[in-house]
């Protein structure tokens, strides 16, 4: 099986990672957060040319952020998910930047920082304004404990039209 061979080859070069085949043309790796740079370097050497996105998933119950690096290999025609977990406290949610390996990551890291507050060390554009306005900086609205309804009510001054105590609105 083609995918199995890819996973085995990469795991041989990076023994600290775990990997498996999800299905045809889909593989998945889990790496510790501090080894992410080494692992992405290994992936790039194994011709995973494109970085498609960095997704942050906020696992509130576990107290962790899951970062999923979506990679695509044009040579192998395979999609790889590289998962890693970091604590979700804002002062501890820090990752090394992978901008020097995949320059495209700079934009994705800015996106992750704006909405989740993950700080990528070494990315010079981290403090530059991205999508959110100045007033919304530091709110990190995609975090699961962000009070979206309360924010909307306060911002647009529609407090009287909603019941404060009702919690299952579908806005």
């Amino acid at each position: 099986m083609r995918e199995q061979a890819i996973v085995e080859k990469i795991l041989k070069e990076a023994p600290y990672a775990e990997g498996k085949v999800r299905r045809e043309r889909r593989v998945e790796f889990t790496v510790p957060a501090e080894r992410i740079k080494d692992f992405l370097m290994t992936l790039k050497e194994n011709s995973f040319e494109l970085m498609l996105q960095i997704t942050v998933v906020d696992w509130l119950k576990d107290g962790e952020y899951e970062l999923v690096y979506q990679m695509w290999s044009i040579t192998h025609r395979t999609h790889a998910m590289v998962r890693t977990r970091i604590p979700r406290e804002l002062d501890k949610a820090r990752m090394p930047t992978v901008r020097d390996i995949y320059p495209a990551a700079e934009t994705y890291e800015r996106d992750a920082h704006d909405f989740f507050g993950v700080y990528f060390e070494g990315n010079e554009k981290m403090e530059m304004p991205w999508i959110l306005d100045d007033k919304e900086q530091g709110l990190f609205p995609h975090r699961k404990d962000f009070d979206m309804l309360g924010y909307v009510k306060r911002k647009y001054k529609i407090l009287d039209r909603f019941d404060e105590n009702k919690d299952n609105y579908v806005i």
Binding site: L50, L52, W72, T107, W130, V170
Partner: protein, 392 residues
């Protein structure tokens, strides 16, 4: 007549233009979001005369928080929300979200639904390319072709309206299949006629736009990127195919009926604005060819969505815990969705990967350096930057 710099500044100020002199020769110019070419997107340009010294992309004017809102809504309701991420071809976000959800559910959608989805996606591609021709020709100053393209797109809009009930935002592809069946055989005949009609009009577009001396003079040699740069920056779609990389999701990661269809992936090597425009022109031809094949194939019989008792009560429709990534080829590039479920009736996380986030920020900033102010809209249009992809 020579005018000194200070006189220009004074004149600009008197006319209410806020030119900010950075030093003796350099000016800061806010290009967009009101500018017609940028479409709700802004670029801060540092200009030396009429040359760009530095460009800073400034997104965020279209941010509506779809990814966050999707976490508060039932699975099927999200279709009406997420399709607004890509305005010219809203079927693409519908399709990727549905494909990812189906992968988590382990559903195999019926053949008839696959045929309808493929047709809808290809119709969306053709209409998006016609829309793009409109934008390009307006920026080049050949207005007639643009108005024709808008008029021909209207024929596809009418077909969409008959099929889905809506012209622009179709809300048609749902997890499990499609929302409605094909209305009648007359619709198929109309589709065939429309494809034939647009195909017959392609020589006119060639004559007016793609073989035009103005196009060549305006687009040749500007905004050049090479293969290595494009790969490192994560550029996909026609933009990377214009640098010589034959990457097309329909070939590389086949979905729906694409393995059974015969089409070519046009590749050019120059990597400039002209090459990108020509790749799109050739792809339009291929898409019409695909639609011809689909019409000839005819929709297979059977149901148009999965027969599952859970689909009868959509607000309580639950998806087992898991995650999946699905992507399709849009006219802008590789459009992907990463969907996470935790077993509830709402998705836990939806992330849409728009292709413009790769070529609309860093690549644009680097390609604009050294360009003339008049070339800025042309480079933007040749990249086919779609700001809602970036902002979401």
């Amino acid at each position: 007549m020579m005018v000194s710099q200070s006189e220009l500044v004074r004149e600009a100020r008197e006319n209410g233009m806020d030119l900010l002199p950075l030093d003796k020769d350099t000016y800061e110019l806010f290009f967009g979001p009101q500018h017609m070419a940028t479409e709700n997107f802004s670029i801060i340009l540092k200009m030396d005369g009429h040359r760009v010294v530095k460009a800073i992309a400034n997104p965020g004017f279209l941010h509506r928080g779809f990814e966050k809102l999707a976490e508060y809504r039932p699975w099927h309701t999200n279709i009406a929300l997420l399709l607004r991420i890509c305005v010219p071809e809203p079927d693409v976000p519908e399709a990727i979200y549905s494909m990812a959800t189906e992968e988590i559910l382990g559903w195999e959608i019926p053949e008839r639904a696959q045929w309808i989805r493929t047709t809808v996606l290809e119709m969306a591609r053709v209409s998006a390319y016609l829309f793009w021709i409109m934008g390009l020709s307006f920026k080049l100053g050949v207005y007639t072709a643009g108005q024709w393209a808008a008029a021909y797109r209207e024929r596809l809009m009418a077909l969409f309206e008959q099929l889905t009930g809506a012209r622009v935002y179709h809300i048609y592809t749902i997890p499990g299949g499609v929302r409605r069946d094909i209305p009648n055989d007359r619709w198929l005949r109309q589709l065939k006629d429309t494809v034939e009609y647009i195909k017959g009009k392609l020589p006119d577009f060639d004559h007016l736009v793609f073989e035009n001396y103005i196009t060549f003079r305006r687009m040749e040699g500007i905004g050049v990127m090479d293969k290595k740069f494009a790969l490192a920056e994560g550029v996909t779609g026609p933009n990377i195919r214009a640098t010589g990389v034959p990457y097309d999701v329909r070939r590389a990661d086949p979905y729906l009926l694409y393995p059974e269809l015969d089409f070519e992936v046009p590749v050019l090597k120059d990597g400039d604005a002209l090459a990108r425009a020509l790749v799109r022109r050739y792809e339009l031809e291929q898409d019409l060819y695909i639609l011809e094949q689909l019409v000839e194939m005819g929709p297979p019989g059977g149901p148009y969505k999965v027969e599952d008792p859970r689909l009868k009560n959509l607000p309580r429709f639950k998806v087992p815990a898991g995650d999946a990534f699905a992507h399709v080829e849009s006219t802008k590039g590789d459009f992907g969705a990463y969907v996470v479920s935790d077993g509830k009736n709402k998705p836990y996380r939806v992330q849409i990967r728009g292709p413009s986030i790769a070529h609309g920020i860093r690549v644009l900033e680097q390609l604009l350096v050294g360009a003339r102010i008049a070339d800025v809209p042309v480079i933007l249009m040749s990249l086919d930057n779609c700001p809602p992809d970036i902002d979401r």
